[in-house]
Symmetry: C2
Subunit: 554 residues, 2 copies
């Protein structure tokens, strides 16, 4: 049975590559920035799986630019396996033919170009993932051969400090380095002593001090000045009809203005409802500036972060009882572990979407943009491996009338997955549609399945200005669809509503209007916000929050 | 709104504790073994959340023994948050009143004592988790205040080498240390230079060279000599009726003899079926010795491991193309990332159970044993956040006739979750029951819900000696229950079978007998095994596999 097969081909191939690269690598694994392109040429081969670090925040942009300078006649058909492709250079790689295949989680500003390149055959799309799913595949069938990562600092041995924006670095490096891969880091600075070691030198093959600090974007900053009365109405409904109803302690907030509005009325309306200590005590969340008032008012016990948020460095450092920080005082973010907590430890995920179909499936995809969903599918699904019980999870499951069809007489809880939308979104586009644009995208971009962000059987509640659909209480698909029609306002879906049916749904508490919930619409205005401007946030933080320039509007 | 609240109480409390401990901690964070109890007294306070590392393999046993020596009048009511409690000392802690509350994932040999202590009020049970769920909670609401971990070696600065059995160490240390907690490591040896750094010194507060190496158990070693003809019949059905039918490439194997039998007939029956290269190319799996013949025959591309397995060290080192190994050559296991891959990257989980109820819910719980389920719920559920498509996942979902009730016209795949059991198990106990013993356990141990290992709506296939129930093809609960009766043999559940109904199920391919699958029962014997003994495994490994003494039966 024994063959003469070699069993260390990866290791010996890596040795050969590193020998070719040796001339560029000095003591402490340091490489001169002007040698970076040559280094990449030595260690990367056509058809390699390559990861360029970059989530929706920090970016290994210098290394991406350098990879773009290799000759596509020499290096081509790379298979990019990485969280995000938000930089132009990420797509230019495909334009030039250096890269060919793509597996990722989020497209950001390049979403339209991704779709176009797929149609034109410049990108062969593997799949769109949720982050934790992609990280899981790094350890099985999508392990990077070479990873180009970024860190704040390296020391003279090659240890790395990733600090506030640790984010994806540890999971990328571990998957790559422990399968004989090659790890190259760009750092903002090489120093004598690091504040702390985040990545041991032995896990890194080369370090380059980049010509300028890595690109980083404040993606989770929402200016309270832009919160509208409608956002506040939805936020009030969420707090009274869901947070209070289910006593939700452990949750994540999505990225939109609805959740900012919720954050900003916790210390006002939330306090009035008696929810302090009962709700929002534990969160998996980037350091949202709009959480400052609630944190200062003592609502929050713990926040674990996927990544950092520009301007929140000093605030987080001064609030180590709440945030995870290192012995050096700076935040330790970690997307892999935050998403793990996000999947298994949260009782609720609440966020927005672009479209919801008549069955409750939702997506942010449009016909010509391959956007991806980031962490939403991971947190916005029922985590079926979960076995611990909390009151809110149990109540949500106990309300499901047709659990018997699934698991007989066995009781089970269910995660609250809440979608909050105004019935008409940007440019008056309806949020409720007969068929998701995701179907058209699947056709245009040759995807195996329409890219659904959250499937209908995972959504438990939909909030609009019309009220809340308690989909978890619907006994079957017909009632579920009726409840969706009830919250769908003047969209085509909503216009198909049968008033008699909606009345029955109200009585059964499967649909509730703001009035049913005892919410006074006239109070839904900006007076309810604990902070009404960026300046307020700075003041409430005691000057610890330092917003990026573009948010400094006072 | 600003309060005079202090925001660094955790950090200052930790400082105080470490000042009290300073007299015991020498250069390189070293503590003399005889000072360990005093050290623990200095850094642990009553009501602390404490983690003692130990999964079903390596154990921080010396530190557990030392903690047991503190005076319960001084330190009591500890809240233990840890993967497993397999050692007597773990339970003695509750007996003596040092510990009070328990959140864990797996009980192992102490399962009966856990149940007894709960009844007697000596343990307040938080919950039984699946590993990744518990790890997630470490970053949210169950963060350890003090963690007692184990490693092979430390260097003179306090860096740790966890090597082959890295297992849970990184996730425990990260959660603890970055929320101002205290990390204490027992190591087998302090050395000048580590083979590699797994945990940076800055993440560790104290290091003790323990009087003897940590306890470790070969839990995943199955002697091929104990594989029966019945196991082989089930294995043949699995290969032809499921692996081959769905072309399953990416999977995990549970711990029982069924999956060992499958592993051992891959190079014989599997090859005959033409499945080489089509199935079992990527696995998340401990280094099972019974995988050696299939690996040597070239079946496997990649294996990522939760932990190590005694005796497999040299084999793994020599097969770095297959296993994840460090630059030093030794395995890098990592339970958190392996379970992440297990949840999101696998198309199939196949394992055994003790009981299956008439609805398809299954559990290994009995009335008086709180055993826990380890990784099974995490891998043995439909991972609903998954968005990438593989053929086997898509086919399994497309066969679900009632998907419309869940998500309307939206197509979706489904993970294959296979339970393989003989209709009567140990001591002739029926594997199919009207009601799971888990209900009695819930009552006896005051659990909120019966501890179900895999819920009925997640199980897609059940294999017994009678055939395969393709539950994913059942249009509703009635048909699902009929398919379960069809495979349930002479158990009470099976005796309720209606032959006419079973005939219809066979025609609809919702139930298939071995004969329907074209399997010749007479070939189900040990001649089909690629290795028939431990000695065979050693030979096939070219002498690289070195079984523990108790398995050396030649």
């Amino acid at each position: 049975m024994k063959t003469e097969r070699k069993w260390d081909t990866l290791a010996s191939d890596t040795r050969q590559r590193m020998e070719a690269a040796a001339r560029y690598i000095g003591p402490g694994k340091q490489v001169k920035k002007e040698d970076t392109v040559a280094l990449l040429k030595s260690v990367i081969r056509s058809f390699d799986r390559v990861n360029i670090e970059g989530n929706n925040q920090k970016q290994a942009d210098f290394l991406a630019d350098c990879l773009l300078q290799v000759d596509p006649a020499e290096i081509n058909n790379l298979h990019m396996v990485q969280s995000c492709v938000p930089l132009a250079s990420h797509l230019d790689m495909f334009e030039k033919g250096i890269a060919k295949r793509l597996d990722f989680a989020f497209g950001g500003p390049q979403a339209a170009r991704v779709a176009k390149f797929i149609r034109e055959g410049k990108i062969e799309l593997g799949a769109i993932h949720t982050y934790l799913e992609l990280f899981g595949r790094y350890f099985l069938d999508l392990t990077p051969r070479v990873s180009l990562i970024c860190a704040y600092e390296a020391d003279r041995e090659g240890n790395l400090y990733t600090g506030f924006n640790t984010e994806d670095t540890p999971v990328i490096v571990e998957a790559t380095k422990f399968r004989q891969g090659i790890v190259i880091a760009q750092v903002n600075k090489i120093v004598d002593k690091l504040p702390r070691v985040d990545i041991p030198a032995g896990w890194v093959d080369a370090v380059i001090e980049s010509p300028k600090p890595f690109f980083i974007e404040p993606l989770f900053t929402r200016d309270p000045g832009l919160v509208t009365d409608n956002h506040i109405l939805l936020a009030m409904m969420a707090l009274k009809g869901i947070y209070g109803e289910y006593k939700v302690k452990r949750l994540n907030h999505g990225i939109g203005f609805l959740t900012s509005a919720i954050e900003l009325i916790l210390p006002t309306y939330g306090e009035e409802l008696g929810l302090k200590g009962e709700c929002c005590t534990h969160m998996v969340l980037n350091p949202h500036p709009t959480m400052i008032p609630a944190i200062e008012a003592g609502w929050v016990d713990t926040i674990h972060c996927f990544g950092g948020e520009l301007g929140m460095e000093e605030y987080v450092r001064a609030r180590s009882d709440v945030f995870f920080t290192g012995p050096d005082g700076s935040l330790r973010s970690n997307r892999a572990f935050a998403q793990t907590a996000g999947h298994y430890a949260l009782d609720m995920f609440i966020g927005g979407t672009l479209q919801i179909d008549k069955f409750g499936n939702s997506s942010t995809a449009t016909a010509n943009r391959v956007a991806g969903f980031g962490g939403a599918p991971n947190m916005g699904c029922d985590s079926k491996g979960r076995r611990h019980v909390t009151d809110s999870w149990l109540k949500c499951g106990q309300e499901v009338p047709n659990m018997h069809d699934l698991i007989g007489d066995m009781p089970r809880g269910k995660r609250l997955v809440v979608q909050g939308v105004e019935t008409f979104g940007e440019a008056r586009a309806p949020s409720f549609v007969d068929k998701l644009d995701a179907w058209k995208l699947a056709e245009n971009a040759k995807l195996d399945l329409p890219p659904v962000m959250i499937y209908g059987d995972d959504v438990t509640h939909i909030i609009t200005e019309d009220g809340i659909a308690y989909l978890n209480r619907a006994p079957n698909m017909d009632v579920r669809m009726a409840a969706i029609r009830a919250v769908a306002g003047y969209t085509e879906i909503g216009l198909a509503e049968d008033p008699a049916e909606t009345k029955r749904l109200r009585e059964a508490k499967i649909f509730q209007t703001p009035e049913d919930l005892g919410i006074d619409r006239s109070r839904a205005n900006r007076d309810l916000l604990a902070a009404r401007s960026m300046r307020d946030l700075v003041d409430i933080s005691g000057g610890l929050y330092n917003p990026p320039t573009r948010f400094r509007n006072w």
